[in-house]
Symmetry: D3
Subunit: 320 residues, 6 copies
């Protein structure tokens, strides 16, 4: 139990003015590790699976790296003007026991755990792992909340039909989610898309399914604020899921990832993008594709930890 | 022979939806390795020489790193709206057999190989190595195409007269090219110049020879699009050579280089700069100064590979 | 075609006194890349699969790293007194097109390719990838040569029954090979076993199946030469397969691997161990578990390349 | 004694067109190392202390890394149009002999050395070390020049009262300086503040003491030039001290630091910020928090060296 | 609560055949994190303090790195023939809340925590941090057990009187322990001493106080077994403390440390040295000086984790 | 001027018990930097040239890295029982101003500087740079001392006739030295030779010129002491030069080098080898091929610094 400005709360970050941040074991934002969901509003859940990745692996160590980087987080978010841990009881669940060599078995394990969490009315903050893990999470969240609006921030659409004849990879995840009716394309948007494409029709095909596609080019031309307005209008009211692939950010800001794509978001743009989505009704989040073996100076993990802090702040705002 | 949207072409990238990108041996963009120029339009040529460098070495491993990073490239360039490999037959020649301890012998080897390529009507895409390799390439290209317009994108002018009493280094290359009449200063421009200078006259002396010098400061003030217009006007019609030193980009985006200079181009600016030169008549390109021992997360090499992809797209556009 | 002391052979390393080693694209030992098996005696085959690994991934980049490190190899092996490339035609096949998210599909791909190679009478030199790839290779080799003697050099027995309820991982491979009748335990030996164990019966259970288990402790006490004699006696005459997991070597010598185990072989011991097996009848080899993201200074890959060179030398000797 | 465009000056950088930059031993900007202050105007002083840091250590190797990175600096600053080493005699003092385990003893050592320097009328250019070293430097500078205007460029306010019940850390330094009357809040400003905060009052409390606080957000909205105007107006006439914490820059630009904070200045913004302060009356500078063990490709150190070059240029301008 | 071969024990490692090792949060050997000492026999305690180090810092991240590396440990120690976690209830206490800028305050914090542990009859397994932390630990242990025999395995004697006029550093720790009567030199021994020395009398002075000094040279000449016999005879019966500085091992085996000294123990020798001390009466252990920023491939941390596993095994043996 | 056990000597290391080792600027062993040879007995000279290297470059930063690593050295060598800096006045000359793109011009610069040093009766301790620098050093030393005995410790013979038609590379240096009559093969020996060879005659041809060749294999079989005896007998009386290529050591101990060769010396063997040559008449030394971009944890540089310390100790012994 930590004492903070939130008084004697069970779920509160350890005070970094009292004990140094580097005292372990490391949990997200120095929050209590707990598998007991009693009293928890929001849960940081690691899913250390990288079996769905088609280029550089390593995201199985993503949750651990994000935990270590999150030690730097503090209590007050001056941009959204909220002290999230004073409003929400947040705990670190630890990691789901994935099966590294089997995406099917891993999906089952994710479904079991996230299902329980969802059934307890707790909002999941998922930390990957590669992007393939979003599918079973979406399935559980939509089981409770119905067809979801999806805000997908990523360099890539992840709407490929298959890789190497496999239906489940980190590049097929939103095609599957669409086919399985988990997401509502008329309320969904892909943001930050860029780089060379497999074909000239990749974007238009996605749009023809009902999704909006906001390319990096378009973000640059119109500015983050305009884009946030467009996203908010597209999504509108109703349960919304946000999935953030760290490769939405430029490799200069997020080198530690599997399929780096040049020409991406700066850290300031990424933060502003999230902060511009304050009024929406979020029911789940994921942050994926942090690959520590390719990171250095921990800068990718520090960015990821800060993005998750914005997720929590957005949630806290909606409760306020 | 690879099957792709270009049909059964002899020179086509392997399909990354069928075989994983990380299956080797690695060639540029997963294109066929070929020393037979029959049917080839454009040739990726590595020149792994770093004997001309005055600070950090390592660019001899540049072509290998760019090949590995280029595995991520896909078929369609949505910015220039072109599928370059459907228009041009591109092959990977491999590397020229340089002589690491002798810049003179290396120049001779480069001349022999690039000469043959040029004589076959093939457009060279050269990947260094340090900037000193541009001189013999320019010599062969201008032998066929006459005095060339030069677009030189770099943090540094590379117009020094000599280093340590040596006429040939990576910092003297365009003074030599000018003196040898390979480039036409009235159609040539140095772009991205920045940082502290050897003297107060460095830039004005270069301008007095007829070159335009567009500093980073000027790019920032006026924007990439204005600058691209100025370059296009300066260069006008006629054979044009583009030389891109990766240190034109900021060390945050391109740490893996020999003489890093702070305050440079972002990756988005670098890409936009190339895409803004679409109408010119290019007869050769080089991308130099990628030094893998100082890179991390391969981000410099990934950026370089994408810039070369823009070169090929520009060429394809002109053929379209 | 390369000219060497072997005259004008089709399959011969490029001469590193004539062209620098760092000229790419990189193939194993600078040998020709070829998918045409005509005239080939021995084939370097990369299997870049790491989907079977239970701790640190990354071995999908193993073959590429071993190729780059192998550029340092030369023509004459003074320890075994043989010029292997003058005796055997060796080519680099490139990598098998694995399916990163599916061990079953990968096994099928391996079987197809290695099956063809085996049927052509070519001896495979397989470079992983994680240890799970040995199973389909063993299956194909034993299809032609019958039940095989196995010399398994590794820190770990890899005789686990299952991980996370999965039958196929890099730690179950030799239990499966035993169960499927691919290897003959009465002629087989595990060498270099060390570290903490899952249970007190791990070694005795393996021995009770007929295998010899030579621990690192026993190697240290008795010396490499004695151990080689014991292995040779155990294996005797008949088709023999050698599988070398780089983590048999101490992390100081081979940091770039997935499950590092302290207290292992030095590089000198590893080389001596292979050289002490000269008289055996080898029909296949693999070298697995090189994980470049955890390597540095390329030392693990350089060691692996040299061990494969010893494999080739052993084969050449038997042909001499 | 070096020959340069400044003629035969005792204190002048070695000529990098004559001797390569990488010839050691390394001093700042290849200037002479001297402990004799005779004839010196400005002194580069390393203070390799990291005992005040609350997260990642390593800045004790900061001065050495900045020296190595500064080898790339040249003679002319085209932005401020000044050749600083032709105007000022600059020397490299070397490092102060700190006491790594005692911040109190280190403060005493700093006071002794900087005191002597100040008493000699030499302007100190201090290179840390962590930010805690600024306190004794400020004390000595204000001893001579009276209460100072402070321009503090940093991600963090460093106005914490105590960490772990300690009064002296790198996060309390400007609260102490304020309490000890070394700085005049009515002429002082914190620039670049960002990230999550310890409490909702952190900024307003600092403002209530008289300081201006210019957040990163505000810089982004109003632009560097406007901000520079505001700083110049706030500071006005009189002795001014500039303290630059490298973590003011984004981790993409300055990964090698102890408490990285996402969303910071780009290198271009940082340079422009300094260049916009040309008319002020500077009496001392420090550049702190470069931690080489977390740097890569030396990019943080290269940026730091360039920022110090701007400090010297600003000083030279004021003498011109 | 984990199920293992030890049945349903409260304190038992998670089963790595059931859940992957890389599932976090990470604790030592995947043991439960607990601050409740009820039922605990032995406690892993991190002391992340590096304020006493005189060269490279970073050991404040030592406990975290050792935890991550310890994920690879298994249940049975085949060398000492013991399943330590079946005999001892071992928990991970987490880290003591040190004060990074004050060695005195840190000593007080250590005393409080370790004192409570000792008073509960729990044997501490301390993981540094730098070597200065051993002093307050020794103080608490000797408070309960009386003057201790010390087995100090290290490249350096750590018997310096002062560094920079400071009494407490990582190099003075055993002089202080001697002066304060915590250790009995007639039962104590320094093992592994090597490298250049401050003076010709360093070793003889230490011996004249009653300590044995067994240099690396002597270990090499006489062999580990002989040396273990000598240590056992010197120490004899009675409470014994073992302090292992990871720099006792050669930098090839343990690069991640602050004052690397060439010519050290191999990993096999280090393990054998510990295993040779089985019959002694241990009342406390520490493993210090693992500095992750200088480690790579985690090899230093993996070695440290294995050495601590041997500590636990030695303790278990004595309970058996 | 430093105070030490040697009293008030002009040339003496700074006292690391008084000022921390990490206070810069860094010189070898914290000795004074001096270009004035007055009173100097022995001079550390950096030659930062890597233009002769045929694989990985980077040794131009070798002297700087060795200086930083040498900060750890202390005053007394307990193995040779000598305090070298009390007997010899040793200074750090700094680095020779090489010409990175021209081996011929570099040779001239080396000859000038080393010639002056030799003519002043000072013994040079040369730190490379790649092995090609030994040739001009040998020329100057033999100009004064006549034909020299050479002790060449290296993985490679460096007796190649030419690389890529070039006579001067790091692999041809001793063939040239032999041809130019600088060394006397009847008193010279190559030690540590190993790895695959260019041809079956490489060793026998070298032996036929009169050199002894002691392979790594032979060292392992016979032991360091026997080998030292053989070297001492071969060399006998008269002027002797020792050249140590760091790749004589195994890549585990010396990863930071250009052509790593597995199966080499351990650090203990390397040290013992030097210490076993105490009675010889040394007139010059070099330590070459330390390449910092491929080093990590500075372990290669630390080893190199210690080997040079043994050189100085050997010299001091001969003066004693």
């Amino acid at each position: 139990m930590s004492k903070g400005s939130g008084g004697l709360r069970k779920f509160y970050p350890a005070d970094s003015l009292v004990s140094p941040r580097f005292t372990g074991p490391y949990t997200f934002a120095r929050l209590p590790h707990s598998r007991d969901l009693e009293g928890v509003d929001t849960l940081f859940i690691g899913i250390p699976f990288d079996g769905g990745v088609v280029f550089r692996p390593g995201t199985r160590f993503g949750p651990a790296a994000v935990r270590q980087a999150s030690l730097l987080l503090r209590l007050y978010n001056p941009y959204l003007k909220v002290k999230p841990f004073d409003i929400l009881n947040v705990a670190d669940f630890g990691d789901i026991s994935v099966v590294p060599s089997s995406i099917e078995s891993t999906y089952q394990k994710i479904s079991e755990t996230v299902g329980t969490v969802i059934d307890s009315g707790v909002t999941p903050l998922v930390c990957g792992g590669d992007h393939s893990i979003s599918l079973p999470v979406l399935k559980e969240v939509s089981r409770r909340h119905g067809r979801l609006a999806l805000i997908h921030i990523d360099a890539h659409l992840d709407m490929v039909d298959q890789h190497f004849s496999q239906k489940y990879t980190h590049g097929t995840v939103f095609r599957r989610a669409y086919e399985e009716g988990l997401i509502d394309p008329s309320r969904s948007v892909h943001v930050g898309i860029r780089g060379s494409l497999f074909s000239e029709d990749e974007i238009s095909e996605t749009e023809s399914l009902g999704f909006d596609v906001i390319t990096m080019d378009s973000i640059e031309k119109r500015g983050i604020e305009t884009v946030c307005g467009e996203i908010r209008r597209k999504v509108g009211e109703g349960a919304t899921y946000l999935s953030f692939d760290i490769d939405a950010c430029d490799p200069a800001y997020a080198p530690g990832t599997g399929t780096p794509e040049v020409g991406g978001l700066t850290s300031r743009e990424a933060l502003k993008l999230l902060r511009g989505l304050a009024s929406l009704e979020f029911v789940g989040f994921d942050l994926v594709e942090v690959s520590p073996p390719y990171d250095y100076g921990e800068i990718t993990a520090v960015l990821a930890a800060n993005l998750i802090y914005e997720f929590i702040s957005l949630l806290a705002l909606s409760k306020k």
